[in-house]
Amino acid sequence: MATMTCKAFLNRLQLWMDDNPPPDAEAHLRNCPNCRNVIADLNAIHSEAQSWNTEEVEPPAHIWTSLRSQLEQEGLIRDQRSVLPQPSNSGWFSGWFAGLPRPALAGAYLVLLIAVAFGLSRPIDKRVNEARWLEGTEVSTSPLSAQLAAEQVSFASFNDSNPVVTASLNKNLAIVDNYITLCEKSVQEEPQNEVARDYLYEAYQQKADLLAQMTERGENNR
C-alpha cells in the first residue's frame, strides 16, 4: 500500500470526517502521531460542542411582549378580541364582582359609552368640515383617556379585596390599554387615516364592552 503524506491526509480529511477513514488513511494514522493529534483535537472540539446542545436556553419573556406590540403596530395581528376574556356561565366567574362599588362603576361605564358615541360621531363632521374634524380628534379622545384613568382608580380599590381577580383583571386591562396606546399613536401620526381612527374607537369600545360585562356580572350576583 502506498504511503500517504500528512498533506494528502489532511486534504482528504473532510471527505470522511464523520465516517470511518479509508484503509490508506488508517494506515497513515497508525504511523503518524501528528495526524493522530489532529483527529483527537477535532473529536474533542466536536464532543465539547455537542454537550452544549442539551442546554437550550429559555429567552426572556419581554421578547414576546415586544414582538407582539410590533405585530399589532404593523397590523399583522388582526383579531384583538381574541385576547379579551369571553363571558362565561361557569360558577368561578360569577363571584368576581360581588364586592364592586356598582353605582360608581355603572356611572363610569355610562360616561364611557357616551364618550365613545361622541367619538364615533366625529367622522360625520369630517364630511362637513375637515379642519373641524382634525381639531376634534384630540378633543374627542381626551375624555376617553381621562375616563380610562378613572377606571384604573376604581379597580385599584377592588384589587385589595380579591387578589386572584386582580391579577386577571389587570392583565386584561393592560392588554387593552396597550392596544389603545398603539392606536392613539397611529391616529396622532396619521390623523386623516380613517382606518387608524376606526381601530382607536374599536379599542375604546372593547374596553367599554369589558367594563359592561363586569358591571353586568356584578349586578347579577348581588
Partner: protein, 203 residues
C-alpha cells in the same frame, strides 16, 4: 394547538396562533442566536427580528419545506446579516459558502506538530474561539456540532450544497483547533512571564 393548525390560523392573523408558534420554537432560535453572537442582548434582538420576519412572511409559507427549517433559515440569515454588518463586510450567501473566501488570510498549515488539545478544551475557551470564527464557518459549526443538524438540513437552511456544508464544517473545526492552540500558547507565555517576574522580584 398542533403546529399545522397554528400556521393556518397565523396566516389569517390570529394572535394566539402567533404566540403558539413562538412558544414552540423560541428556545431553539434563541439558543442559535446566543451561540452565534455570544451575548444575551444581541441574541434577544436577533430572536425578535427573526420571528418578526417569520410572521411578516408567514402568509407566503406553502409547506414546501418543514416549518422549522424555514424558520431556521430565516434566523440564520438574520444573524449572518447582522454579523456581516458588524464586521463591515457585505458579502452574499454564495460567497459565504465558498472555501477560503472569508478569512482572506494566507492558507494555514493545520497539521503542524502542536501539542494535543484533548482534555484541555473547556467551554469558555471554545466559546471564545467560536466567537472569532468567520460568520459562515460559525453558522455551520453551530448548526451541525451544537444544534445537531445533518448536512442535508444545513444545506437547505444555508442554501448551499451538502459538499459545501461539509467543507465549511471541516474548515471551522480546523480554525477552532488553531485558535485554541493560540490561546494555549498565549497562556503558557503569560505564565512564563509571571514566573520570571516572580523570580526576579525575589532576587
Amino acid at each position: 394547538m398542533p403546529e399545522a393548525e397554528a400556521i393556518r390560523l397565523a396566516q389569517q392573523g390570529d394572535a394566539s396562533a402567533f404566540e403558539r408558534l413562538y412558544r414552540l420554537h423560541n428556545r431553539r432560535v434563541y439558543s442559535l442566536c446566543l451561540r452565534m453572537v455570544g451575548n444575551t442582548a444581541g441574541a434577544e434582538d436577533l430572536t425578535q427580528e427573526a420571528f418578526l420576519q417569520l410572521f411578516r412572511k408567514i402568509a407566503t409559507f406553502r409547506g414546501e419545506s418543514a416549518f422549522s427549517t424555514w424558520l431556521h433559515r430565516l434566523a440564520v440569515n438574520v444573524v449572518l446579516m447582522k454579523l456581516r454588518k458588524k464586521s463591515g463586510t457585505e458579502t452574499s450567501l454564495d460567497e459565504l459558502t465558498e472555501p477560503d473566501e472569508e478569512s482572506g488570510g494566507p492558507r494555514r498549515d493545520f497539521g503542524g506538530p502542536d501539542l494535543r488539545l484533548s482534555g484541555s478544551i473547556d467551554r469558555v475557551h471554545l466559546q471564545r474561539a467560536v466567537e472569532q470564527l468567520p460568520p459562515g464557518y460559525k453558522a455551520v459549526f453551530v448548526l451541525h456540532d451544537i444544534q445537531g443538524y445533518e448536512h442535508n438540513e444545513i444545506a437547505e437552511i444555508m442554501d448551499c450544497s451538502i459538499g459545501n456544508s461539509k467543507s465549511q464544517l471541516h474548515k471551522a473545526r480546523m480554525r477552532l483547533r488553531e485558535l485554541l492552540h493560540e490561546a494555549t500558547r498565549d497562556k503558557a507565555r503569560e505564565d512564563r512571564k509571571a514566573a520570571s517576574a516572580d523570580s526576579g522580584g525575589e532576587d
